[in-house]
């Protein structure tokens, strides 16, 4: 076995085979999926904007992930994290939808352009006072932008992984990221005024 194999998460079971021994399944799951608890919580916390709800949803997500662990196709630690985050994302979205009141994506092109046209947008960003408002501005982003921003900037996932998690094409991920960043600039500039 090569050294690389140590970091590799095996595929728990092939479809159509007899269900694996629960104790072995649990030990594989604990070894490879539990370590991504912080990532799961961070995503749920940013999506729900509430620590209580995030805790409940992370627990629910882990149960769901465990029940469908057989669907995980194996891979490295990053694949295991992306797979878990897909479950967390879907659990949170289902919950948010049921709860209602989540604004859908509607993007104001004028605002977008105005933000881009501002010449010192970046210098505004490094201003300390603006940084203080950064978290508030991320929270204020519409869900679809917040999702890709958190996955990209905080989890540092690839566009391909984000596309899989959010269930949208890579092109959409990239445009949402660009729009999300533009909105952030706009929000931070507003916070400074």
């Amino acid at each position: 076995m090569s050294a690389f194999a140590i970091a590799t998460v095996p595929r728990p079971a092939r479809p159509g085979t007899i269900a694996m021994d629960p104790a072995r399944k649990l030990s594989l799951f604990e070894q490879h999926v539990i370590p991504h608890l912080n990532a799961a919580y961070n995503l749920a916390r940013w999506l729900t904007r509430d620590s209580h709800d995030a805790e409940d949803l992370v627990q629910e997500s882990y149960l769901r992930a465990f029940r469908s662990f057989e669907t995980f196709e194996g891979g490295d630690a990053n694949d295991a994290r992306a797979w878990l985050l897909t479950v967390v994302r879907n659990t949170c979205f289902t919950w948010l939808k049921r709860k209602g009141g989540q604004p859908t994506v509607e993007f104001d092109e004028q605002m977008h352009n105005a933000a881009d046209a501002s010449p010192d947008a970046e210098s505004i960003l490094v201003n300390q006072a603006a940084l203080a408002s950064l978290n508030t501005c991320v929270e204020a982003l519409p869900l679809e932008f917040r999702e890709v921003i958190v996955l990209r900037e905080l989890e540092e996932l690839s566009y391909k992984d984000i596309s899989g998690i959010a269930g949208v094409p890579v092109g959409t991920v990239m445009s949402r990221l660009a729009r999300g960043r533009a909105r952030l600039r706009q929000c931070l500039a507003g916070a400074l005024r």
């Binding site: 629960p22 995030a54 882990y62 149960l63 900037e153 960043r181």
Partner: protein
Amino acid sequence: MNCQTARQMMETNDPALEDHLRACPSCILRTQARYYEAPPGLEGRVRQSLRREIAPREPWRWMAIAASVLLAGSLAWNVALVRSGVDARQVLAASVLSAHIRSLAATHLLDVPSSDQHTVKPWFNGKLDFSPPVKFLAGFPLLGGRLDYFDGHPAAALIYGRNKHVINLFIWPSTPTAETEQTRNGYNMRTWSGSGMTFWAVSDLNATELRQFVSLYRQPD
């Protein structure tokens, strides 16, 4: 420079950092936005709920047999009562009370013994097609939860304590019903409905304290 080196430079206050941040808005997020770490205790709760998930189901099979025998018996009894013209609500009250007494008599008070609402609530997921509100109530510690069956529905039973008394709070989805209070065989019972669910609180607790329990539970969060 990439964002990783930028993050390391945060600590050293290197002037080159500011130039990089100006050029790279991602870095600002990566170095400045809050990363929420899982609160302590969450990992333990996750592991616990996974253990429960793989716990052997043998006792369940035995309980399922016992439950079907009880159910068949109670169905026959209910049919007899309906034929005899007894008010359906009183029949329900009687079966709620039986469930309360049965839960205390058998060794089946709690399926999920936990005083933590974040353990009890997720436990019901996948077992019920509704989400019972599990609340923390001052003076009435949560003891745990259990699955039950009433009126043709699976029901959630939340178990709260008060000194040495046990309160069973049964919840299942239903159309709104009238709010009532009654005493049967020395047990106090209160029922009400809301959010598409019917609630029955049963206990040998005195009527005043049970009323207090109900009003605490019904307080909006």
